[in-house]
Symmetry: C2
């Protein structure tokens, strides 16, 4: 009700002046946000270890920023950035993925094109080096959205994607984590799920997310990462979202779509929509999201101790962070 | 704006009178909606065949209505009704499921409790007679929401659920459909995915959905049925939804959650929310949904030639239908 007089003024003044309710920020020509997981990231992490994470995030962000500056498509950039993070052993995706309870790796990934709402995802992948590219193959080469297990792997050969032994994904720190998890059910440590949300120069959004899932997960467990609308979503009308955290909670609350729906149906900003969802629906410690809106607004919102994250845009923003610092 | 004077009247008159904007319908003490699939259901279907479908739907509806009248919980009723439909060879769930391209059956199911938002789902199940009960076991016996393939089946023994040979699900009409699909990619025929949305006497909602997927589907293909927020959703604040149709479209548009979000964020009725989503987002022929709201409103909305469906409530409603008739 209080807004009515202001609204009336705005309508009366019409095309003559604009009434900025928020500080005017120039819409960037492109924008990108990335993450490398959220969760228990102790503040006591040794400085050189934290620096290694920052360095990896910055490398991924530089790759994306450079490609976007050159006019690359959001969908391509999202895939390329996530491929780089999949190859980075620090994060729980591709090389460096966590172990299942039975000592294997089962990888999940999804990708979505905000222009067409085309999307693809895979779950339970064991031998494909870049699950994010297999997700893209599902999107482009099949009438389906989500393929599981061997059915997904069969597509890798058709798409000419690199296959590796399952043990190729193994790293000593992740094996130690499995041993600890089986002994004491200790919390996850180190880098987690990776993801990218991208707005390109052409006004299109894309989101890509890739993960090894939970340490010591039950065989066949599917988390939020391959589920469109849970851990990953992009729609040119609203935003691109990639999530990381307790997958079951992200599925239950349909986090990625809930953020998009709050922007579309309630007119929320990316930040407000993400905060309502992450603080109002998820439980403390569940994780976080990165959101890039169709106007280039970036929101990095989490309710855990930290989130490996980065943001860059055409207006010169370039930052990586782990905690509130 | 036009509502302001009316609103002012309503506020002034306060507790004295109510101002019904819509025809007043007494909130039923319980309500249930079911479906047995949507799609190409020719109007030329022989009368006795259509009658068989109606009879099966009525039996499921009677089971649910009787249990609800007696005070049973929504979650239990949703599961029991879907179990009955899984055993019915007319529908594409459990016995009578369609064949995959390789001549097997891979079943998906999910269930959600609107009171707690607890949910469970399975995909790629080959040997469990009642996939909906396995979905419930995922919900109640694991920290996970979705289990795939052998990982899901392993839980069946822990939960004491009946196992059957994969060929137990086979029926001659479905084998004929597979042969036709492999030859000519003919459209699906006969009953489809099954589902139930339930409001119980205690004010709680639940949704359950079960399917054999698409005829001649690719191995490992996961549709919308096991994906919370796509083909199944329940939240006591809004509604219970079960969907049926082109799964990939239901995933892309997150149909079940989109309906709930429209009720929650835009104040839509169940019918308006379902119509906006089914007619505004899906493409003609994609399928439909059944929705039961927290006030007992039932919406049965589809954009295909027909939908096998039924609705009953404590106010005496009891109906089954296939087309607009």
């Amino acid at each position: 009700m209080q807004r009515l007089p202001i609204l009336a003024c705005a309508v009366l003044l019409g095309a003559c002046i604009s009434v900025p309710f928020e500080p005017a920020a120039r819409r960037p020509d492109w924008a990108i946000a990335i993450h490398g997981g959220a969760g228990t990231i102790p503040r006591t992490t040794p400085a050189e270890e934290a620096e290694a994470y920052r360095s990896s995030l910055a490398a991924a962000l530089r790759l994306g920023a450079g490609r976007l500056e050159a006019g690359a498509r959001a969908l391509d950039v999202a895939e390329e950035v996530v491929r780089l993070l999949e190859d980075d052993p620090l994060f729980n995706a591709g090389k460096g993925a966590v172990f299942t309870a039975s000592g294997e790796h089962e990888l999940d990934a999804s990708i979505m094109d905000g222009e067409t709402l085309s999307c693809g995802a895979v779950t339970g992948v064991k031998t494909v080096r870049h699950p994010i590219s297999l997700a893209r193959a599902v999107m482009e080469r099949t009438p389906h959205v989500l393929l599981a297990g061997e059915g997904a792997e069969a597509l890798a050969d058709e798409a000419g994607l690199e296959r590796v032994e399952n043990s190729w994904f193994s790293t000593p720190p992740r094996r130690l984590q499995l041993e600890r998890a089986l002994e004491q059910r200790r919390a996850e440590q180190g880098g987690g799920t990776v993801g990218a949300g991208v707005l390109d120069r052409h006004g299109h959004l894309a989101a890509a997310t890739s993960t090894g899932g939970m340490t010591a997960k039950r065989r066949g467990r599917v988390g939020d990462t391959p589920l469109i609308g849970a851990g990953n979503f992009a729609d040119d009308r609203t935003c691109a979202v990639s999530g990381t955290g307790t997958g079951e909670q992200f599925i239950r609350h349909g986090v990625a779509r809930a953020i998009s729906d709050r922007m579309e149906l309630s007119g929320r900003s990316a930040r407000a929509a993400a905060e309502e969802t992450v603080f109002g629906r998820l439980q403390a410690g569940d994780g976080g999201v990165i959101v890039v809106s169709h106007r280039g607004e970036i929101a990095l919102v989490y309710n855990s101790e930290g989130m490996f994250r980065g943001a860059a845009d055409a207006n010169g923003r370039f930052e990586v962070a782990i905690w509130e610092d």
